[in-house]
């Protein structure tokens, strides 16, 4: 069942992005930034965790989960280490995503020949 909801909820996130592209004429950068902030706000309100529990990767794969993870890192370390955790914890959870993207993009750039 979680596979179905992953498909549906993940698809719906993309529809929201497509509507921002087509109807509101936003650039990809504006759309992605808005979605990330939306994810952060949803986590702050406590809505994102239930969604992840319900839809699995449908909620954790779209870019909104990036905002959610940033807030999660900040709040977890705030709880553990006090106010300084807001600064030190932000990249705690998202490190895997960002590091993997940097490393593999760099390796790809070394190997792949640009087109044209």
């Amino acid at each position: 069942m979680i596979f179905l909801w992953a498909f549906v909820i993940g698809g719906l996130f993309c529809v929201v992005g497509q509507i921002m592209f087509d109807v509101f004429k936003m650039t990809p950068a504006h759309t992605m930034s808005t979605l990330v902030v939306a994810g952060a706000v949803m986590d702050a309100l406590g809505w994102y965790d239930p969604l992840v529990k319900f839809a699995g990767a449908g909620a954790s794969v779209p870019i909104t989960s990036f905002g959610n993870s940033l807030v999660h890192g900040a709040l977890t370390e705030l709880h553990r280490d006090g106010w300084i955790g807001v600064i030190t914890g932000i990249f705690d959870v998202t490190s895997a995503g960002i590091s993997a993207a940097i490393i593999f993009s760099f390796l790809a750039a070394l190997v792949v020949r640009p087109k044209g």
């Binding site: 993940g10 497509q18 932000i90 390796l107």
Partner: protein
């Protein structure tokens, strides 16, 4: 003045019902054309975005079944695997073709984030490793990271000010 425009628009409405001038036709066509395009675009985005998330769910399930991880532990390696797949597809030039068809369907998932980084890194290779690849990798992804971090900081500060202590 208002009465005049009212009668004018009234006459036009009558005209619409009886016969269509070319102008009226174009107006109606213009009104309807983007709507259907938005719908098909949304459908494509839904399908591709949903499939990417379904793939993510399958990978996550593999980590949970064979790696003995909880769903929360498995989400980070899942994202990393999706990013590797996205980088490979971008390098082969496949991801851009998918993106042309799927629009936001391939841009919103984390694979689109990796694609934007990888493609700007490859495109700017000619400018050198430091000034090209290093400096341009975050051209698109940078704004996502900046606004995400600022939003997370604001939420954290709100928690500090109101003494919420970071507990959910």
């Amino acid at each position: 003045m208002p009465a005049k425009t009212k009668s004018k628009s009234g006459a036009r409405v009558e005209l619409n019902t009886t016969s269509l001038t070319e102008q009226d036709y174009q107006q109606i066509a213009k009104k309807h054309k983007p709507k259907t395009k938005v719908f098909t675009n949304c459908l494509k985005a839904f399908l591709v975005g949903g499939l990417i998330c379904l793939l993510g769910q399958c990978i996550q399930q593999l980590f949970m079944t064979y790696g003995g991880m909880t769903s929360r532990e498995a989400s980070s390696p899942t994202v990393a695997v999706l990013i590797i797949i996205s980088v490979i597809l971008t390098s082969l030039g496949v991801y851009d073709k998918i993106a042309q068809w799927a629009g936001a369907g391939s841009a919103v998932p984390v694979t689109g984030f990796a694609n934007s980084m990888c493609s700007s890194a490859i495109e700017s290779k000619a400018e050198g490793l430091v000034l090209g690849v290093g400096a341009n990798m975050f051209k698109l992804a940078g704004s996502v990271i900046v606004f995400g971090v600022v939003a997370a900081f604001v939420v954290g500060v709100i928690h500090v000010i109101f003494g919420l202590g970071g507990v959910h």
